[in-house]
């Protein structure tokens, strides 16, 4: 990381500290979902697991990240609109450092949100026998997932015409976990829905995290999960940078 990225990262992190709603709002929705599913719907849902908080947590963490990356779009959009982006781009600094600062900010702030969500889950009965290596692998998957969605978020951040437009892309992302193995086993879903659920990225990522946290193994889904994250990241990175260059033409 060059020192300019560091200065810009410092600036964005300071922005987040001064508008704490951006961390709190992001953590509140997943925690509410956790409460709702554990204490309201939980009794009626049969997952074959005796601890429903354990079952839910992987999917809830993904929802937290999916809603968190919308703030990257928002912050980028604000920079473009305010003219700060133009100021940075006319200064003798590496242009890529401007985008990387936003991306790293997203990784740091989402990590923070995920930790808050995990703490809340602990209060509600989440328990895992995973060792430090398993946890590191979970962190790696979540980090990669965050990077992938953040680069995706960069695109509307640069192109959107309005604040709502900048964040609208995240709604389907937040919805994806609901049609996956995150809340109920996919076996209970009817034909076409089940096919979709079993072949979309969230299911493999949820299954991989579950295997690491509760089975002490990497499971069968880890490669599919990593391939999805890496694939989305590469494609989104490509289009985000293409858009960045196009706007400078």
């Amino acid at each position: 990381m060059n020192s300019n990225t560091g200065v810009l990262l410092w600036r964005l992190m300071r922005n987040i500290m001064r508008s704490p709603d951006t961390i709190i709002t992001v953590a509140v929705t997943p925690i509410m979902l956790l409460l709702l599913f554990v204490y309201v719907f939980g009794g009626a849902i049969k997952t074959g697991s005796d601890n429903y908080v354990n079952y839910l947590l992987p999917g809830i963490m993904l929802i937290a990240i999916a809603s968190g990356v919308a703030y990257t779009s928002l912050r980028l959009f604000t920079d473009v609109r305010s003219g700060l982006m133009a100021r940075f781009l006319t200064m003798p600094i590496k242009r890529s450092s401007v985008l990387w600062a936003h991306v790293l900010t997203s990784v740091v702030s989402n990590a923070f949100t995920v930790v808050v969500v995990i703490l809340a889950a602990l209060f509600m009965g989440f328990r895992s026998g995973a060792n430090i290596l398993d946890w590191l692998m979970v962190a790696g998957i979540l980090g990669l997932f965050t990077l992938a969605l953040t680069w995706l978020a960069v695109i509307p951040g640069l192109t959107a015409g309005s604040m709502e437009g900048a964040t609208a892309f995240s709604y389907p992302l937040i919805f994806l976990p609901f049609i996956s193995s995150a809340f109920v086993p996919t076996e209970t879903m009817p034909g076409i829905v089940r096919v979709f659920a079993e072949n979309q990225p969230v299911t493999s990522i949820v299954n991989a995290i579950r295997a690491l946290l509760f089975e002490g193994s990497v499971g069968n889904d880890i490669w599919t999960a990593l391939a999805w994250c890496a694939g989305i990241m590469v494609v989104a990175y490509f289009f985000a940078n293409k858009e960045f260059k196009r706007q400078l033409g």
Binding site: W10, S82, G83, A86, L89, T90, M91, P92, L248, G249
Partner: protein, 256 residues
């Protein structure tokens, strides 16, 4: 070698069907305040965007301190700073933090000292530790201009520095810009206010219909375009009259 710090030749730029710049030519000399005067939508911001490496021209050539804007953007960026049409601040940072941030990005020695000096110079010391989004319009603009001075760039672009400000704030900003003039930097200012050009600029270029239709000092422009008026008392034409005379002329030419 000419003593032009900015030179622009045959610059053309279109957006889709709309031809905004149809061959713009002008030169700005070292140390002068040069105003690009034109009505809303004339293409002033487009010129500034091209000169500050934010946008590529379709045709033509522009150079800053003898560096080509298209082919040596890195060197150009070492020599310029842009104060865009809207005050480009981080509203959640304080005035001082904004200055520190830019000072660090520009790699100047002693960013804290640089920030404090600029705060004093722009009468912002009392507001140094207040968030920039709580500043008044005039204060924001002054901070914005202060940010552009960090690292002592050779060329400063001021794109419509007083648009949207109330008269009092406009006077404040004019004072600030007058202080900059003579500080050694070359200033390219765009404006749609005749009075602003008259007040601040050493030389003025009028951008109209995609071309520069007149360039010169205020006196030269006055000589070029005496208003067709019969009056009993001798009266100097105002820049407004000159402007309207030229634009009227420009449109006649277009129609033929």
């Amino acid at each position: 070698m000419s003593n032009a710090v900015i030179s622009v030749a045959e610059l053309k730029k279109s957006f889709k069907e709309q031809e905004v710049l149809k061959g713009v030519d002008f030169e700005v000399r070292r140390g002068e305040v040069f105003a690009l005067l034109g009505s809303n939508g004339a293409g002033k911001t487009t010129v500034v965007n091209i000169l500050s490496t934010l946008m590529k021209p379709d045709e033509g050539k522009a150079s800053i301190c003898d560096f080509d804007v298209q082919h040596q953007p890195e060197q150009v960026r070492h020599n310029i700073s842009l104060t865009g049409q809207f005050a480009a601040l981080d509203g959640l940072l304080t005035g001082r933090e904004n200055l520190m941030m830019i000072a660090k990005l520009r790699g100047v020695a002693n960013p804290g000292q640089v920030a404090d000096n600029l705060l004093a110079k722009f009468s912002l010391s009392n507001a140094a530790n207040r968030r920039a989004d709580r500043y008044s319009g005039g204060m924001k603009r002054r901070l914005d201009i202060a940010l552009s001075l960090i690292g002592k760039p050779a060329v400063i672009f001021l794109d419509e520095p007083t648009t949207g400000l109330d008269p009092e704030a406009r006077m404040e900003v004019w004072k600030t810009i007058k202080k900059l003039a003579g500080g050694g930097a070359t200033i390219l200012l765009t404006t749609q206010y005749l009075e602003e050009a008259e007040q601040l600029a050493d030389r003025i270029a009028i951008l109209h219909g995609g071309k520069i239709i007149a360039t010169g000092t205020l006196t030269e422009l006055k000589e070029m375009f005496p208003p067709a008026k019969v009056e009993y008392i001798e009266k100097q034409p105002t820049l407004e009259e000159i402007f309207l005379a030229i634009i009227g002329k420009g449109e006649d030419v277009n129609e033929q």
